[in-house]
Symmetry: C2
Subunit: 335 residues, 2 copies
Amino acid sequence: MKIKKLGEDYIIDRIRESFETQHPRIIKSIGDDASVTAITEKRCLLLTMDSLIEGVHFDRRYTPPYYLGRKAVAISVSDIAAMGGTPLFLLTAVSMPEDTEFELVEELYRGVKDSTTEYRIHLVGGNTSRADKLSVTTTLVGEAEKQRIAYRTGARPGELIYITGTPGDSALGLEILREQGFGALEKADLKRAVLKHLNPTARTGIARALAEKGLVSAMIDTSDGLLRDLAHITEKAGLGATVVCERIPLSQEMREYHISRARKLELALTGGEDYELLFTSPPENRDAIQIMAKRFNIRITPIGTVTEEKGIKVLHMGKELSIGARQGYQHFVSP
Amino acid sequence: MKIKKLGEDYIIDRIRESFETQHPRIIKSIGDDASVTAITEKRCLLLTMDSLIEGVHFDRRYTPPYYLGRKAVAISVSDIAAMGGTPLFLLTAVSMPEDTEFELVEELYRGVKDSTTEYRIHLVGGNTSRADKLSVTTTLVGEAEKQRIAYRTGARPGELIYITGTPGDSALGLEILREQGFGALEKADLKRAVLKHLNPTARTGIARALAEKGLVSAMIDTSDGLLRDLAHITEKAGLGATVVCERIPLSQEMREYHISRARKLELALTGGEDYELLFTSPPENRDAIQIMAKRFNIRITPIGTVTEEKGIKVLHMGKELSIGARQGYQHFVSP
């Protein structure tokens, strides 16, 4: 059977099954934003690994090397953030064709450098290699207090589902880039969405604060699209969710862009690479969460509810939309 | 300037320069087999990242997926071993074309699984992704006591240079595979060299013992070839070395294979991927090192001396061979 018929989730599930392991120091293995292993009695190591591959995750025509370097760092920082952890040490494996101009390499690492400086993390190793296509794989090591780690599991029926920021903007940004090229960066009404795609920001501060205050029962970063990432939270817990379309906040850029309302909704529900936080929390935390949103000046919106009934229901004007819960980006599955 | 004109060493040096960083917890950043960061006052985290890329590091025709999985683990374990550390937690990023058969994926991870079991390490995360070519990138986390870590730097003039095993066997194994295919695995006189290439063993036990007993002043694993890895030890220390060809131990497979004596020497001096240990030690440790060799049943041979004079001299029958010190595998440099 070819893997494109099976899909990434199937493959990861099979890998996870065959590597189920018992070790006193392993608290969480494959299947969350980062793995969790014990360092001392109270402290844990968080480990995450991500790849950005030319032709799969990015198109060189729309990806300046500087931003590629920044994004490679940010998406790993986002994974550590979504666990409520502090990112610390980075390793990068960069592969590229041998006829690559050194200037591209310098630009890429300048992006890595600026991003590591901003997140106060440190590049400590990695490797470079020849390959047919450009790719950047990052490993990020973080730490967290054992008692304050936010896992994907942990949601309970009746809890509210929250999202930071405005979903779908990264996918919109890519659509704008494809239509208008880098000229879009000069346009005030488009720039923010394009930069959301090229240069996402990991929600480190607010994620850690939410986890430290015990305000999240489950948390994930939105890399695969809102619905698919929500399914990651609900499915493993044997639960479902109801999402109300009218509650999903759309950015001004999204609202004003010349695409149909249906397409906007599709981008918001299934567009990947936002690297926002999606989390669940009991209703009584509502006010505390909004106080946190104000403190960090980040929009946090309740968009639905965790349900005992499995599957993800999307309500639009009171009617259920027929959107597969797993819609969103998945590797290997052919469209 | 295209990177193939500059070479991997140049690029890594530039990256290292631009990321020179001061952080109380970073003990060793880019430039050794693994980075070293402090966990507690006495314990350190070791981090290493390696890539095996189709068409660059391996040819699918000569690389059964099971062995690819094993090798991906072993080469990272070798890096942690060469620091004198204990390998612990593994992450893998596997990329492959979407029309890959799932059986290949299963075989690859079966190799990873068997190898992790043998080294008593644990796969805790990573990712899978679509790509044009098959590749496996591994990150391995290890630990070591701060006082017992073996760095690449630390060699002093007059010290002896030692190597474990018999160098060049991996390169010989690849040559045999190219000439004779997998049939060579059925031949008693060829099998060991072929398996040395397909299925290298990291020298974990003896490396840790040598480091713990304080018997090494500098240590590296031989992944790029004896001379190039030796240069990694001497150059940063501002030193040189003399290597005596007659002292270099050749395996029975190498001695008996139908290639010229000159070619055998070339394989031993520059063939990569042996994953043996190359280390330096004061002359007075000679006996202690041989006792260790016996205990682990691993051949350890002194092959030369660290010199104050820079550059690497290779002596053959008392005459200097004209082999560039940096000869060996280097990414990006066109032959």
